[in-house]
Symmetry: C2
Amino acid sequence: SRLEESVKKTVEENPVVVYSKSWCSYSAEVKSLFKRLGVEPAVIELDELGAQGPQVQKVLERLTGQHTVPNVFIGGKHIGGCTDTVKLHRKGELEPLLAEAKSK
Amino acid sequence: SRLEESVKKTVEENPVVVYSKSWCSYSAEVKSLFKRLGVEPAVIELDELGAQGPQVQKVLERLTGQHTVPNVFIGGKHIGGCTDTVKLHRKGELEPLLAEAKSK
Ligand SMILES: N[C@@H](CCC(=O)N[C@@H](CS)C(=O)NCC(=O)O)C(=O)O
Ligand SMILES: N[C@@H](CCC(=O)N[C@@H](CS)C(=O)NCC(=O)O)C(=O)O
Ligand code: FES
């Protein structure tokens, strides 16, 4: 579908992408983590897309199996949600991924 | 107002009250913290109240100054949100409050 193509394009063209909801604290946590790491993700606030919001959330579920926010991609690869991203960082694996995505 | 009276009654009659949203991870965190501490809070899921949800959220803002969820009360006293509750617990101050509220 056209929406699916547009989501795929977004995650391929941006090193870091966060599908988020503007009033969600888990989404805020992951956005602020990237900010602390000096990374500026492309942020898509699903609650600001009107009727497209739920549609994009459905496309993401089809593409990643994940229906929740935040939904994080690095270097075109699906990372997961807030907990997954924080876990990667605690293991020291997040910054290498970010560096590699930036260099692409 | 009648809704304000009903909220006041809820927080007075229940030792622990959590105003929550069912899909919110911060709300989930605070509910699961209480569960781990062996406490069963009265939980009000604002997203399950239909049109009353936003109205209750407004009443809570009037009563507590807090417009976000989760909104936590112990022994009729306004505690705060997820971060506040977790902070109290880290300082060892949450369980004494819970014990005192239970004994009322
Ligand atoms: N463990 C997941 C939790 C994700 C989650 O439950 N997200 C909630 C918001 S905090 C959600 O998307 N709920 C359904 C919705 O908002 O559509 C994470 O760390 O990201
Ligand atoms: N620091 C606060 C954050 C509370 C917060 O921002 N809550 C969000 C949901 S996670 C909220 O209520 N957003 C507005 C809304 O859902 O109406 C806490 O720990 O509870
Ligand atoms: S909506 Fe509360 S943490 Fe996501």
